[in-house]
Symmetry: D2
Subunit: 400 residues, 4 copies
């Protein structure tokens, strides 16, 4: 295995027209495996249960990922603290451990290490540009010290905060990608996807796109709008999409957070591997070349992306040794009627049933219509008390 330094960088790959396969969302995958707590969503597992995090990295690598994102989501000290995490590990310990794990596994294959920053409680609480930038600065210190290959500013609902992040990340000299968690309606201040993209490119991002909050169909549609905006402005960029692995046709502007099923009853919405192949093809056709995933993606979802784009890339991922394309492995199944499913035609046409005749196919999302600056979004150090929860419960019941 060549040393990391010998690998082609992210921009070299994209400039050469290569497809870069991203990884999937660690928070949701590790929640199901028992190492992340939904609610706080903090990444202490990097230090606490490194074998579990390492194993997930390996599975994504094996599935075809070219990028190992450090598992550092929400790993700032203030977040770790106000989300009730008992301080067995400092933010720095977690961040360092996450970088080491990502690098260790990246070295086992053709993958780069990316360090990421996300939107901050401080922005929602209306802190100043300087305050917010200070937080980003502190987070990237570890990434610089651990020499990650590039940086990602991801999961921003307001383009203004993402611009600030990009400006800070650019100071490192490393390539910068920036993705918003918005849909075709634009960011939470009403800035259109096209305008968002232009602002991110102008701030210095070489790669722009969408991650999280919406299903692949919606994300690809939104990145297309970003691309049109960038091209109309006479600018250039690479494009990236890392959507959910959940079908979300019923989402409003705030995305899957607002669906009543978030986060503990999303199962019926999980995409199949065939849905993923469709996504990979549509993203490719839309001109997107950095194609990955976010919450809900399991290793086999990433493998499906790599399999769909194998003709363009010229190779299959390692994990395909355990997967016949388009179900062809089923020709070794015991039952003849299952062998009859060993073909593309069958799976591509199938409309899978939910097995839930008492459930609807779409939900009405919550629509509280509040964003940055609203009192309910101000964050406090203490856990939410029962007294604070009671009016929330009442309001929710009324809305049902």
């Amino acid at each position: 295995m060549a040393p990391a330094g010998a690998k082609k960088g992210i921009l070299e790959r994209l400039d050469a027209g290569e497809v870069v396969i991203g990884d999937g969302g660690f928070v949701f995958a590790l929640e199901k495996r028992g190492y992340v707590k939904a609610g706080p969503w903090t990444p202490e597992a990097a230090a606490e249960h490194p074998e579990a995090v390492r194993q997930l990295h390996r599975e994504f690598l094996r599935a075809g990922s070219n990028v190992m994102q450090t598992f550092t989501f929400y790993a700032s000290d203030d977040k770790l603290e106000n989300r009730g995490h008992t301080q067995r590990f400092t933010g720095q310990q977690i961040n360092e451990a996450a970088c080491d794990l990502a690098r260790e596994v990246a070295s086992e294959g053709d993958a780069l290490v990316a360090g990421g920053v996300s939107q901050t409680p401080s922005y929602l609480s209306c802190k100043s540009e300087d305050d917010v930038k200070t937080i980003f600065k502190k987070q990237i210190d570890v990434f610089v010290q651990k020499d990650v290959d590039f940086l990602i500013a991801e999961y921003f609902e307001h383009v203004e905060e993402a611009e600030w992040a990009v400006q800070v990340l650019k100071t490192t000299g490393k390539p910068v990608a920036a993705t918003l968690c918005i849909g075709p309606e634009g960011d939470l201040n009403g800035v259109s996807p096209g305008d968002c993209a232009v602002r991110l490119v102008k701030a210095g991002a070489q790669i722009v796109g969408i991650n999280c909050h919406f299903d692949p169909e919606t994300c690809v549609k939104t990145v297309k709008m970003m691309k049109e905006g960038v091209e109309k402005a006479g600018l250039k960029a690479h494009y990236m999409s890392q959507p959910l692995a959940y079908h979300t046709p019923d989402c409003n502007r705030q995305g899957f957070i607002d669906l009543p099923e978030f986060p503990f009853s999303l199962e019926p919405r999980i995409l199949t591997r065939w849905d993923m192949q469709k996504y990979a093809r549509e993203a490719y056709n839309a001109g997107i070349r950095y194609i990955g995933g976010c919450c809900g993606f399991e290793p086999y979802h990433i493998r499906a992306l790599a399999e769909e784009l194998a003709p363009e890339r010229g190779f299959l991922p390692a994990g395909s040794e355990k997967h016949g394309t388009w179900g062809s492995g089923l020709d070794m199944h015991t039952k003849p009627w299952v062998r009859a499913r060993a073909r593309r035609d069958y799976w591509e046409k199938l409309k899978p049933a939910s097995g839930r005749p008492f459930c609807p196919s779409m939900s009405v999302p919550d629509g509280w219509g509040i964003t940055k600056g609203h009192a309910d979004l101000m964050q406090q150090k203490e856990a939410t008390s029962q007294d604070q929860l009671k009016p929330l419960f009442d309001r929710a019941d009324k809305g049902l």
Copy 2:
């Protein structure tokens, strides 16, 4: 950690009225992680990728499992061979590696090791009782040598073959559990669940029940019928259920294999953690005390069983440190309307949407109506050829 020998055995636990939490299905979980090939479904990963198998064992242990089943499903030489597995590992190597991994992780907590045998191609191909028993005998040699704690004969569609298996397993002197993969309509020869159970108990099984092929609701219903049969016959037994983690209200007698979504589009049917708590409670109320899972179960599903039965058992599993019961961890979520979901009332009532408005809620299962002895079920050493597949495809298309 006490040595395995110091642990209470499976019968001691059940005789004492304790709840034993089983583990989940390795084949499906590892297929999603990239280590098992759907179609052959063979367990070479035990030798080939031990870190992946070990990690999954650990996650189930952490989720509350009291049993580590050796990952030896379909690990007989004839199966490994006729399913096209390149012989990097012998059946013996795989079986030994699987036993070692199960023991290693079991020793890290309060879990027993169980070795398992399943239905054979030979029975479907009408081989003699002696031939079939010889296969079982060979499989248990490794289990005896590795000194597993007890044995499970599981995944049998015909009670006759299961009886033969139980008779062989009994020769080891170890406790024996036996589960069929049948529903309320009985086995594929039309023997009712009650009669099946009586025959298994008479053959020597101390624990009887159902695994795989049907959803929890159906499995619990079928085990109840078994229990009624056993009690009516004046016999005694312990009861066990290890159902699918998929909703299957539309299945016929052959179970989920016949659903058009099997095995690559079952996602919309996956049970939520709340569905699992309901299952655990219903199984407990039905008098079942060995409660586990099969295909589709992920670690968080097993944890849900352990959490539901925590009042009876007196403790929560280790993995609950990352899970507030009934979503209570959401009181630390950023968005106030998500904090409003931090309660049992919310999740218990929610009817989750599929996000798939173009899909139905139930499917028409294949119904080829053939079983043991039919020419199409005779197994051959060679992979199925395209010439053999063509008529299967045509027949399947006609049925659509």
Copy 3:
């Protein structure tokens, strides 16, 4: 037009192996047209708005009905009174008017007039056999005087009461048909469909079967069970089915009354004309020769029965002049893609969407589990008061 007397009677037709097409349910059809009040469900429209009742008779005749059932459902004085009907018309006036309307329209084509009696409040309130029989006797006085062609005892949930009705009807010397509103689970006292049928035949009914409460699929299945019972007992009968025009896969023993959608939100369950053709064929194949409908049937549903069985009967109904079989009339549609639907293959395969993504596909029926003799079913002369309704509302809310 030949005088009624010259027509072949109902038994002559059935004995000759002819298919007899019944009519549809007047109560539901006239409720939608504004002439029947849901709740009381009484037939005062026969006297109050004869033009509306006559028109509906004509539409069913035109659609192919060979039987005009007098619109006399619930037309006993006690029912009219205790259901709050202002006494503009006596029961006798309504019954006479209904007979005249049925005869008038029957004379315009090849149809017979049938007078019907149904289950009584008195039976549910545990009145004696004599009391109940007296009610039936009073009802048939008008039918005898108006010389209807045959009699139907229909809509009975308890076979015992139906037997009493048959015994009374037999005293007229006219042919007697008897249908229960039960499903495969049997009557509300748990008598199986086979045993019910045997008892009705022994009581003197020449035609037996099922009407109302369940969808065609369930009704045909239940009539099959009746036929098996009758044949096993060495008896002979003709068979008849008059099911709902609503899909009811989710019903329990009490039928569609218990569905939460009854009676004002049943629209999504309405059968298409193609569903009806399927029903006609299955009923015919099951040996049923008197094939009609009940609640929900509109004239075009009856026409679909007549069109499906046109090959057996040798002619199409008059109404088919306005209907190309299997959609063939669409070859004259303006849009070419609609012309492409002018064929059997298209409509037979189509799985029609509900256009209701926020609704489930099945409902949980109410299951209050009370029947004949329960205090809540005792009927009173006065309308239910708000004080009486309050505990019902509370109980219903709790069950949601």
Copy 4:
């Protein structure tokens, strides 16, 4: 009853702020009753079966309609001829009969008679403005002679043709309403709803709005856009909506014609009476005062509009004598659990099930993307031949 001349005219009513309740769609209602043939959709029943048409008028009047539209849809000689109608009646005979029937029933209550013209085959076949206007002129001769109360230009997919129609209708001196069958995306030439409305008002229409092709929700939304356009242009108009009684969330620009269920499997989409009350309220809140229906509306749907707006209008329709508002009549139902449904709260919250677990909730509409001028839309005198149908079938199959 006062002579028609003594009634307040349509504009007097609307100018006074009154709510005008329209009627429902005759073509679909009479198709189900057996008097209209789907495909040709011609109104010969006005002359052929006047009793059926009269009865439907009466039912709508009784339900609360203030307008009796003459049943003259597609009643031009060229349409009658090229749709294969055997010439038992001339177009003039049909038109005259229709006017007489509408006037007869209107005189029985507080209703006006409206004569209507619709889009022409000639426009789609690119005939000149003069040719198209000549057709409209010929159609209104009968309306003038029969002295209808006002005129409606309805069911236009292209605003240009609707403008021509309005210009012709204005020559009569009678009030003119104009409705397009378009959705929020605008007419088939891409003109926005707002611009369409402005052009219609400038052409002389005093009432503008939407009819047919989309469900109430979509129609109200589109009329709102029209109103915004008109107000922005500094103009004034009255607004009207006559939507489908089918849920169509999945429609594209061409409306329900393109749904695969059109026209013979739309049943699962039929609106309930409660859906209708919601529509009436939303239409009223949007400033629409002429509120009626189109295809799929049955008399009870119109009654629901009148009941919802009874507080504003000060009275209930005659048909409400047979309908307790919000299901209150159920307090007289036999079963107590049905009596528990006698209240608004119950019906307003109910999500009705389809009873069709094997069907989806939404469909993919056909999208042939052709309109005015395309060869496939040119109309011929002869019926479409099998040779012409074959390529349509093939194209349709491919699209599935």
